[in-house]
Amino acid sequence: MKKLYKLKLIALAISTTFITACGDAETKIVEKDPIVVEDEHDHDDDDHDHDDGYTIDSLGRLAVLAGNSNEASFYDLDDNALLETFTLTNDSNTLSSSPDFRYAVIASRAQDYLGFIDGGLWREDHGEHLHDYEQSPAASSYELTSGSRPTHLITHDGQLAVFYDGDADSGTVASVEVLTDNDITSATATLPGISYDINMHGVAEPRGEHLLSTIRRDDSESTSVAKVLPDQVGVYHFHDGEYELEQTLEVTCPDLHGAAQNHDYVVFGCGDGILIAHQQGDVYSAQKVVNIDAVGDQRIGSIYGHEDSETFIGVASGHGGGEAVIVTINPVTAQMEELEWQLADGASAVSYSFSAHGEHFLILDSLGFLNVFSAHDHDGEMHWELEGQVDITEQDVSTMPEGMSFSMTVAQNGQFAYVADPIAQHVVQVHLEDLEIESEVELTFAPSAITWLGIAQEEEDDHDH
């Protein structure tokens, strides 16, 4: 196996100047940091490990946003060392990853700004082999600044859909842009997308050539209570370089907020339940699942899904932030069911995520526990059950700095989740099968957000549980 890493050498600079007479020719060469390739032979290959000399085995990288400054730091997860720190353009940012996990996406909603930082680890498909690259993290000059109020960023299968809410005060409209890692690399000037003629707090789910995106009707027609929330979903189809509205789902979804998708379904959170869109070829059929009693007068506003997970997880909470109700949603049987497990007293959930291949669901709570769930089949029905808890902090959680919380990200190339602890100023690596902390990345600041970057591992075919 080959392993690439970059030596942190003191910059070695050689400058050579050649000058010749008449018809001047001058050459200046400055040597920069070299790229070092470590070569190791590994003869006991596993069955699935087809080493052809082009792939890199690395745990990946971690982008960390500082809570007290506008800086993003990049760490090498193979040796937990700091690679590079970037100063960001704006002060208030969110952090996420690009669809293929090469770039860190820095979004600043208030500044109408989306920027990208190359994590430096990526894979290219060269036809006859996969070719991995490892370079230093580098700020990309690519920026998206034309949309107004970028809010919901959804990635799925190599695509990122950015939903720009627009702004009623300034009269700017909502829009969607869809991009891939390749668009960021090649700085694609004009991205395909949707342009609305009104603002809305909406969401768009990219699905290959389809894009399911919300539609806000005229206030007189809209069934939403908060009119800024859309109440319809449109199916947009990409051809000839643009998205075209081909279908508007006939089932309405008042006060739509939150969406997720798996291989066959896209679900949306509505004020009165869940809207399920089922893909059948180029057409989607729609169906509403009304809220179960446990949801009460709250509404499901966040939904989590995974390509390979049959069921979705929905989180219902009141607008005032009352106690959250967590439900599972089975789109095939159109059923909603309350999760048996409940948060401990005094705990609130601060982050939710599926694991890389969808076999685990993670709930990080405010007391510093990472709750790991697995799906189990009972009489043909999937139930999510708690596998265990990992206490990720030894600190007194009441000393959590004002406005901060624990945060997490999931590595896409193994069984690890990373949890950032602003009190201890470190990030711990949690093995999701062993439910143990295996290492930590020391920071010199309190982290406000983290995201994993690197080369995602391809799914293995068989899933026998």
Binding site: G23, D24, I29, E31, E128
Partner: protein, 802 residues
Amino acid sequence: MKRRSQLAVLIAALLPASVLASTIEGVILNNKGKVVTNATVEVEGSDLKVTTDENGKFVITELKNGLKELHVVAPGYAHLHRDITITNDGNQSVTFNLKRSPIEVIDIEATPIHMSAMESASPVSVLSGEQLRRQQAATLGDSLEKLPGVNTNFHGKVASTPIIRGLSGPRVLITQNGLDVSDVSRVGPDHSVASEASTAQQIEVLRGPATLFYGSGAIGGVVNVVDNRVPTDSTTRGEWNLEHNSVDNQKVASFNATTGTDSVAFYADAFWREADDYEVPVAADIDSDGEEHSGDYKVENSNEESDGFTVGASYLMDNGFIGLAVEQFNRQYGIPGHTHGDEEEKHSDEEESVFADLEQTKVQLLGEYNLDNKWLNKVNLRAGHTDYEHAEIESGAVGTTFKNETNELRIDLLHNQFSEWNGGISFHYKQSDVEAQGEEAFTPPSETESFAVALMEERHFGDFLVQLGGRIERVTIEAGNVLLPNIDAHAHDEAQETDEHDHDHEESAETTRVFDVEHEFTPVSLSAGVVWDFTSNYNLGLSVSRSERAPSASELLSFGPHIGTGTYEVGALFDLDEDGHLGLSDQAIDLETANNIDLTLRKTQGDVGFILNAFYNQVDNYYYQIDTGLYAQSGHDHGDEEELADEHDHSSELPVYLFKTDDVVLHGFEAQIAWQLTDEFKLDVFSDYVRARLKDGGDLPRTPPLRFGSELSYQTDKLSAHIHVTRYQKQDRTAPQETATDGYTLIDASISYDLSVLNQDMSVYLRGTNLTDTEARVHSSFVKDIAPRPGRSFALGIRGYF
């Protein structure tokens, strides 16, 4: 002397002054005393231009006093220059006699001073009109290959580019309306030129150094494709063409049209072409052992599909014009021979085909303004922006993407005649960003910027025309990430060691060194030429030049596999050390300098005309690739490591070629004789030859062989027919590792008939090429062993004019 006495007679024939402004009236006759209609009379150094009416008469009004040089041009006749001194306000009446020229004389458009095949000190040729339509092909190289001194590098018919006097690549500049065509065809022989002949109006070739007008990249010559995309007048006219070709089932459609109002002119053109793999008379691969083969032989993966359009508009003023044109050019073509590593039926029987998908957007702004100024009389403006991209696609995935973004600006300021000197000064700025991404990205991203000032002047001294010029240029090349990987290049003759070398890098570190490179060059070019009309109907031209060229980014900075040439290319910035490792070169990077002498003897008029050129060009510091004898992994295919113990398979490895410099001498000749046998029959004979050798012994690779040929034409009002025979001799002056190529004879014929349908002029034509269906392998081609020329083919087409 004769000319002077004629002039005296003309001046004696002065008519009494009748108007205040000076006027010249005249009539133009041929040598049989018949009037010549539609001849153009131009006053040099001004925008005044008139054509003769049906009585052969012309009138030029509003002339100022002083010496005027008139230039008379008519198709089929030699150009005529006459000096007329205008004194006082008044009229002059003149009679000009034109002599026949069997060699068509067309002025070059893209130089600020007057140049044509018959009249300039350095050699030029122009392909236009019917001849261009007859010879146009899918690629620029194939379109021009019948011109003396020009050969094609024949890359399987799909990506051929021109070779001028044995030079091509970064030494031959290709321009569109005087602005760099800005593709990546100068970097690899398998990269197509982003320009189209079927919508062009004329194609000009400047043989030998032309750096004066075009800068560094033109040290070997220039090909300028001219069209009317920014129209200079609004006369409604146009042309359309449909053609089918049998050998590759090629279908072509094209048109161009110009129209407008008094003050605004519009132009549009478009073309579309589609061709399948072409047929060849023998098995395409020279090594195939004549196995039974059913059906026709074809060159696999030589199909092509392209289309494009241009729209332009200009604002016409009394004193000039300014206009803008936008072109979109798309081309998809298979790259024959672009196969990979060990595909030898090990994995599948299916041939992996590689094709290129090329796309270019070109914006040109052209303008000309005639000033009424004490010093200046004309300003020419040319500005261009091009955005080029081509992707090489293998098994459906993009392998390598090449990009070139170029901005260019050229301003020529032409001065008023100054003690009989005509000429001007030219400012030229060009900036291009070139990058390649993917596995064949053998050149790192770089930015090249150049700024130049050039001066060109000409003057008649009696029977002598003197042309002088100089240019100074500043070229910078910047590349921030030049990579020097440790590629473990190794020789193949140590067969035993190859087994070991792959097992000893357990845990060993390989380092890729990274450099930030900046080059700055100041090439200077000087040229002097003289044309002497030593006796009537003949002239002798001599041109001497010293031109310098800044090496291109790919010649300096390359490091990687170039599948198009089947080599691992390493730029001149690097060199082999004593241990055979590649490191930074300690040789200074220097300019390439060409010292060129051109001698031309012409017979300019009469029933027999000829042009004989001889040249001697010594190029010091010539950048070229040498075979290091080492091999490196192509990075393309990596056999399973376990199999190394077996027969080591070299097919995924490429020979390492290193750019070095050496002194080179090129010399040769071009001869062109035309004989108007009768009014209908004309015989053309031509020959050319170039010898390209290293000063210290040895030959350069892919040098075209000696060639001679003839064309017999028959032309009446309605019918025209041509038979063209070209003999290519065997080339056995070869570089090391290069094989000799057999000679061959190609016979082409064409016939065309003009007819008028619905008040439209049309012509129907039939053209046959390679009529004897002979095996013809092009020595100057990189793929000569796998892609011979097409076999016998018939093209049927129709063309219309309005």
